[in-house]
C-alpha cells in the first residue's frame, strides 16, 4: 500500500431487496475501488433490512467518494465508516485447517489455546480451528499456523458494530 492509502471498514444498511448487493458490489468494481472483505446478511426481518460490511482501501479522498457513492444507491439507508469514527468494534470468524503429526501437531494445539481458537474437528492427523477476533489477530494466527501444517482457511470477513447503547 502506498503511503496515503488507508484501510477502512464500512457498514452499509440497505433495504433487503433483489439486486441491492449486486448494485453495491458493482459500484466498487465499476469505479475501480477495492473490496478486501465483504459480509452480508439480513439483520431485521420485520423492516427487511440487511447489513453489508465492507473492508476497503484507498486514499482519504477515495474513501470519502466511496461513502458518498454508496449513499447515492437508492436502497441504501445509511453508511457508517468505523475507521474514521473510531467508535466501532470489528470482529471476524475464521475456520483454519492444520494437518500434521508429532511435535508440530502439539505446537499447533498449544498456539490455538493461546489464541482462544477452538478445535471443532479433530482427526489423528488434522485439526479444524474456529477463531474469532479482530482481523489482525486472525492474520497472526494464520501466519503462526503456516509452518505447522496449514492446509486451508475460510474467513467470514469483518462484521462491525458501534460501542455503547446506540444503533449505527
Amino acid at each position: 500500500m502506498s503511503a496515503d492509502v488507508e484501510r477502512h471498514t464500512l457498514t452499509v444498511l440497505v433495504d433487503n431487496e433483489a439486486g441491492v448487493l449486486a448494485r453495491v458490489v458493482g459500484l466498487f468494481s465499476g469505479r475501480g475501488y477495492n473490496i478486501e472483505s465483504l459480509t452480508v446478511a439480513e439483520v431485521d426481518a420485520a423492516s427487511r433490512t440487511s447489513r453489508i460490511s465492507i473492508v476497503t482501501s484507498g486514499t482519504p479522498a477515495v474513501i470519502a467518494q466511496i461513502e458518498a457513492q454508496l449513499g447515492r444507491v437508492v436502497p441504501v439507508r445509511k453508511v457508517t465508516n468505523w475507521t474514521s469514527t473510531r467508535g466501532g468494534i470489528e470482529r471476524e470468524m475464521a475456520l483454519i485447517k492444520v494437518a500434521g503429526t508429532g511435535e508440530k501437531r502439539v505446537e499447533a494445539l498449544r498456539m490455538a489455546d493461546a489464541f482462544r481458537a477452538r478445535p471443532v474437528d479433530t482427526t489423528h492427523t488434522s485439526f479444524v480451528f474456529e477463531i474469532t477476533g479482530a482481523p489482525a489477530k486472525i492474520d497472526s494466527f494464520i501466519d503462526l499456523m503456516r509452518p505447522l501444517g496449514l492446509v486451508d482457511v475460510s474467513r467470514t470477513g469483518v462484521a462491525a458494530i458501534s460501542r455503547g447503547p446506540e444503533a449505527m
Binding site: 444498511l13 433495504d15 433483489a18 439486486g19 449486486a22 448494485r23 458493482g26 465499476g30 431485521d44 420485520a46 423492516s47 427487511r48 433490512t49 479522498a61 470519502a64 467518494q65 458518498a68 457513492q69 449513499g71 447515492r72 437508492v74 436502497p75 441504501v76 439507508r77 444503533a167
Partner: protein, 598 residues
C-alpha cells in the same frame, strides 16, 4: 432507525380494491402518473402490454425504428418538457438496444422510465428465447431497476420508479416485467398509496451554508458563476432565480454544455460556454477568478482541463443535489447539497434581506479584465466566398430562426461544439445534446421526441454526416407521426472531431475518419418521404434555409461545408484553461500525458 417502514394502507381502506392484469396496471399506472406519450417497439415479451395499449385511447404511443431511438426520443421529450420520458421495449434485443440510451440518460441526469418485457418467470435462467439478464445489464446504467416477480408488487414498483426517476438527481430507471406477470391479475394501488420505504433525497439547503455563500459573494473581487445542467433539471424556476441572482450581484456567468439556456445569451453578463471548446473569456475568468460559484455542474474533465492547474487561486462554492459530486474532482471550500431552485431562492432572499452589495470597485476592474479577454474574439473565423464555413452555416441558421419557437438538438462532434458556441439560447429546455456520454446518433431521435411534445415548434437537429447515419431510420418515425423535424447536416465528409484530433495528436494520419461512400442525402430524404435540400455555396445558403423552415414536413438538409475546418478555441487535453489555442497558428503541442486523455 428513523425510517418509516409502514406499508401503504391497504386499498380496501380507501374503497374496493382495483383488480387488473399486470398489463392493464402498466397502462393505468402511466396514466395515473400523468403520462401522455410513450416511445416504444413491440415484441413477444411485451405483447400483453401492447394489447392493453390497443384498447386504450389516453396514451399516444410513438413507434420508433430502433430501441435506441426510443430512449433518445424519450430523452428529448423529457428535456424539452421537464416531464419524465417513458419507453416500452421487449426483452432480449429490445432491452440491449436500449442500453446506450439509458447510459446517456444516466450521464446527463434525464428522468426516464423504461419498461422492458421479460420471458415468463418459469423460463428465467433457462436461456429462454429472447431472454437476457436485463436488470443485470442495466444496473450500472440506471439510477435503480427492478425485476417484478409478483403482480401484486407491480403497481407499487411502477409508482416508485416514477418517484425515483424524477426526484433528487433525476435519472433513468428500468422496470422489467415477465410476460406471465403481465397476464396475471392482481391488486392495483394508485400512486397516492405508495411511498418508497427508504428513499428520501435531501433537497433543503443548509441555512448556514447559504448565509456563508452570500458572505463570500459579497466579499468577492473576481467572481464568476459556473452553472450546469442541474439548473435546467431543477426546472424553469431555477433559471428565473439564477437570472435574478446575476442581476443582483452583477457577476459574470458562464455555463457548461448541458447548462446552456438557463441564462440568456443576449445578456451582457454572459461569457459564453466554458471548457474544452469554450470561449477565451469564460475559461480565463474561470482560471483567474477569486470566487467560483458552481451551480448544478460537476467539474467534468471537458470543463476543468488539467485539474491541478484548474482555477488555482479561487475559493469555490459548489451547489449540487447529489452529495457524491462534492469534492469528487475538485476540492471546494463550501458545499451546498440541495435542490437548485430552493438553494437559489434562499440565496436571493438572504442577499436581499441582508442588503448585500457586491464590491463595485473590484467588479469594475474585473469586468474591464473580462472585456479585454472578450476583445480576443475567440469565436471569430475566416469566412469564405466559395466554401460554406460550418460556423457561417450555424450563424445563418441562428439568424434565420431566432424569432421562432426553436428547439435545437445535436449529434456529437464538431458540429455539436459549433452549435453550442454560436447558437444563442435565451430559455432553458430548448437545447438537447448528449453531454456526458457523447452519443453519436442522439440528435435525430431526440428531435422526434421534442417535436412530439411541441408540435408547432421549429425543431432542428444540427447534425454531422457521420453521426446522423447511426439513427437515420427514425426519419421514418418522423414521417409516420407528421413530425416536421429539420435535420441540418453540416456535411464535412469527415468524422470531423476525430479528424481534428488526428491532425493535432497523430501527425495528420487520418485513419478511418473519412466518411467514405456517403449516401446521397437528398435522394435518401425522398426515399423516406421527407424533403431533401442541399446547399453548396454561401450564396445559396439563406434561401435554402428559408425553404427548409417553410416546408411543413421533415427535411434533411445536406449542407456541404469546408471539410478541413477545425473547431476553436480549444484547450488541448491535459492543458490548463489559460493554455487555450485560438487557431491552427497557435500550434497545438499536446503533452505526452495529454495524449492519454480522451
Amino acid at each position: 432507525m428513523d425510517k418509516d417502514n409502514t406499508l401503504a394502507p391497504a386499498p380496501a381502506a380507501q374503497g374496493a380494491p382495483i383488480t387488473l392484469t399486470g398489463a392493464e396496471m402498466v397502462i393505468r399506472a402511466l396514466k395515473d402518473q400523468g403520462v401522455t406519450h410513450i416511445f416504444g417497439y413491440p415484441g413477444g415479451a411485451v405483447l400483453p402490454i401492447y394489447d392493453a395499449l390497443f384498447a386504450d385511447e389516453g396514451i399516444t404511443h410513438v413507434l420508433v425504428r430502433h430501441e435506441q431511438g426510443a430512449v433518445h426520443a424519450a430523452e428529448g421529450y423529457a428535456r424539452s418538457t421537464g416531464k419524465p420520458g417513458v419507453v416500452l421495449v421487449t426483452s432480449g434485443p429490445g432491452a440491449t438496444n436500449a442500453v446506450t440510451g439509458l447510459t446517456d440518460a444516466l450521464m446527463d441526469s434525464i428522468p426516464l422510465i423504461a419498461i422492458t418485457g421479460q420471458v415468463p418467470t418459469h423460463l428465467i435462467g433457462t436461456d429462454g428465447f429472447q431472454e437476457c439478464d436485463t436488470v443485470g445489464i442495466t444496473r450500472p446504467c440506471t439510477k435503480d431497476n427492478w425485476l417484478v416477480k409478483d403482480v401484486n408488487n407491480l403497481s407499487r414498483t411502477l409508482h416508485e420508479a416514477f418517484q425515483i426517476a424524477t426526484t433528487g438527481r433525476p435519472g433513468p430507471v428500468v422496470v422489467d416485467i415477465p410476460k406471465d406477470i403481465q397476464f396475471q391479475k392482481g391488486v392495483y394501488l394508485p400512486p397516492a398509496g405508495v411511498q418508497h420505504r427508504s428513499y428520501k433525497p435531501k433537497t433543503d439547503p443548509d441555512p448556514g451554508a447559504i448565509a456563508r455563500a452570500v458572505e463570500m459573494m459579497a466579499e468577492a473581487k473576481r467572481p464568476v458563476f459556473y452553472t450546469g445542467g442541474g439548473i435546467i433539471n431543477a426546472g424553469p424556476e431555477a433559471s428565473k432565480l439564477l437570472r435574478e441572482l446575476v442581476t443582483l450581484t452583477g457577476f459574470p456567468i458562464t455555463s457548461t454544455l448541458m447548462g446552456l439556456g438557463a441564462f440568456p445569451a443576449s445578456r451582457p453578463e454572459w461569457l459564453g460556454m466554458l471548457g474544452m471548446h469554450g470561449t477565451w473569456e469564460a475559461n480565463h475568468a474561470m482560471h483567474d477568478c477569486d470566487l467560483m460559484i458552481c451551480l448544478g455542474a460537476r467539474f467534468d474533465d471537458r470543463v476543468t482541463g488539467r485539474v491541478n492547474a484548474f482555477s488555482p487561486g479561487s475559493k469555490k462554492i459548489h451547489l449540487d443535489i447529489d452529495a457524491s459530486q462534492i469534492n469528487k474532482i475538485v476540492h471546494v471550500d463550501l458545499a451546498i447539497v440541495a435542490d437548485a431552485t430552493k438553494a437559489l431562492r434562499e440565496m436571493v432572499q438572504v442577499w436581499k434581506a441582508k442588503k448585500k452589495q457586491a464590491d463595485k470597485a473590484a467588479l469594475k476592474d474585473w469586468w474591464a479584465q473580462v472585456d479585454q479577454w472578450r476583445g480576443r474574439k475567440s469565436l471569430a473565423f475566416k469566412n469564405s466566398d466559395t466554401l460554406i464555413k460550418p460556423q457561417y452555416a450555424v450563424d445563418r441558421l441562428y439568424e434565420l430562426t431566432k424569432d421562432k419557437d426553436v428547439y435545437i438538438t445535436t449529434e456529437v462532434g464538431q458540429h455539436q461544439m459549433w452549435a453550442a458556441q454560436r447558437f444563442k439560447f435565451e430559455e432553458p429546455n430548448h437545447w438537447m445534446t448528449s453531454g456526458g456520454l457523447g452519443t453519436m446518433g442522439y440528435g435525430l431521435p431526440a428531435a422526434v421526441g421534442v417535436q412530439m411534445a411541441h408540435p408547432d415548434a421549429l425543431v432542428i437537429d444540427i447534425a454531422g454526416e457521420a453521426s446522423v447515419q447511426m439513427t437515420m431510420q427514425e426519419m421514418s418515425t418522423a414521417i409516420q407521426y407528421n413530425l416536421p423535424i429539420k435535420i441540418f447536416i453540416l456535411n464535412n465528409e469527415y468524422m470531423g472531431m476525430v479528424r481534428q484530433w488526428q491532425q493535432l495528436l497523430h501527425g495528420g494520419r487520418y485513419s478511418h475518419s473519412y466518411s467514405e461512400a456517403l449516401p446521397d442525402f437528398v435522394k435518401m430524404a425522398e426515399a423516406f418521404g421527407c424533403v431533401g435540400l442541399r446547399a453548396r455555396t454561401p450564396q445559396e445558403l439563406d434561401g435554402k434555409i428559408l425553404e427548409m423552415i417553410s416546408v411543413k414536413k421533415p427535411v434533411l438538409f445536406d449542407c456541404r461545408v469546408d471539410p478541413m475546418e477545425n473547431c476553436y478555441p480549444m484547450i488541448p487535453s491535459g492543458a490548463a484553461h489559460n493554455e487555450m489555442l485560438l487557431s491552427p497558428d497557435d500550434g497545438g503541442e499536446v503533452s505526452e500525458a495529454g495524449k492519454m486523455l480522451v
